[in-house]
């Protein structure tokens, strides 16, 4: 006998992600899920971005890593609230891990929460966390073929950052080819070439992010009035 089921395979994770999102919304926390290969510059992007936030947008960070607290220590040295998740070899963060980590973070003191996912261009794309934005970071040394090889990751991005853009020439990186690859699976995601090392291009990305944050804050204010 055949029984129809028709249920998303990651339904259990999606449910917890929706709960996470409801909690973030309630507390007015805007959440960004940063995904990239190892070494693309996720931590550097967090540091460069948080350094440019206005005083009234208070950052917080959840660091996902297989092991170690190297990245969390770097963030903490800047006096930014941070909690480390060690996945113990797991290749991605999932929504229940985020829910557990929240117990160790004062969300009341955070407006913009960055989640640094595990360095990997495959698995994190499949697992929703409850974030408002998914941001994919690529970098010049990885080469311009990444959107063609990992379309699933670039398809879920709300924005793509191209880090280490000061090295584009060194690596013969064809930005137009890269951009067309993203547009194949995701015509709407803006692309921000930038360099965390020189600071070039970072302001454009931060302005865009702050616009998204302002929209979120405004909508929340309006729904509170109603």
């Amino acid at each position: 006998m055949k029984i129809p089921v028709v249920k998303q395979i990651l339904n259990a994770n999606d449910q917890v992600a929706a709960d996470n999102r409801a909690l973030f919304d309630q507390l007015g926390v805007f959440v960004v899920n940063l995904m990239a290969s190892p070494g693309a510059g996720k931590t550097s992007v967090i540091l460069a971005t948080t350094a440019r936030l206005p005083k009234n947008v208070r950052p917080g960070v959840i660091e996902g890593d297989l092991a170690s607290t190297i990245d969390a220590d770097t963030i903490a040295a800047r006096n930014i609230p941070v909690v480390q998740i060690n996945t113990g070899g797991n290749c991605h963060l999932d929504a229940p891990m985020i829910r557990s980590a929240l117990a160790n973070l004062s969300l009341d003191a955070i407006d913009l929460l960055f989640i640094e996912n595990v360095g990997n261009l495959v698995c994190p794309a499949e697992f929703k966390l409850g974030a408002n934005l998914a941001v994919v970071i690529a970098s010049a040394p990885e080469g311009h073929d990444k959107p063609y090889k990992y379309p699933g990751m670039f398809a879920v991005a709300d924005a793509v950052l191209l880090n280490k853009a000061d090295l584009l020439q060194v690596f013969d990186f064809d930005v137009d080819y890269f951009r067309r690859g993203i547009e194949m699976v995701n015509p709407d995601a803006p692309l921000f070439p930038l360099s965390c090392r020189t600071g070039a291009g970072v302001d454009a990305w931060v302005s865009w992010l702050l616009e998204r944050y302002a929209e979120f804050a405004k909508e929340r204010k309006q729904s509170a009035v109603m």
Partner: protein, 114 residues
């Protein structure tokens, strides 16, 4: 790489559905997976055989229905099957403005029970 987590979810959903219907045994599970969903069939089956031991789903067969994703050329409207790594140019007109549609499916369609 995330096949273990995926397989745990597949097993749980199948067991829930079987119990709800008072089934004694699950003989097959039908999955619908888009071409761009990164999952390796053999790896899921491998984990499934391990995880399902001693459950209603032991020895069940997994069927993967792969849903193709389609590339559409925005210049000449030619359509062709797309899979990673994506073809950067239209094979018909050489145009580089392509759009990928579909292929993100990732669900359990049905189970067969005894």
């Amino acid at each position: 790489m995330h096949e273990l987590a995926v397989t745990e979810n597949i097993l749980q959903i199948a067991l829930d559905a079987a119990q709800k219907n008072g089934a004694r045994r699950i003989t097959a599970i039908h999955l619908v997976i888009g071409e761009l969903s990164s999952i390796v069939d053999d790896s899921v089956q491998f984990y499934f055989d391990l995880l399902s031991k001693g459950t209603l789903a032991e020895n069940a067969t997994l069927h993967f229905q792969r849903v193709p994703s389609v590339a559409v050329c925005l210049d000449c409207a030619h359509q062709f099957d797309a899979h990673a790594p994506l073809e950067p140019r239209c094979p018909q007109c050489g145009g580089a403005r392509l759009q990928i549609r579909g292929g993100r499916e990732f669900f359990i369609e049905s189970i067969e029970v005894a």
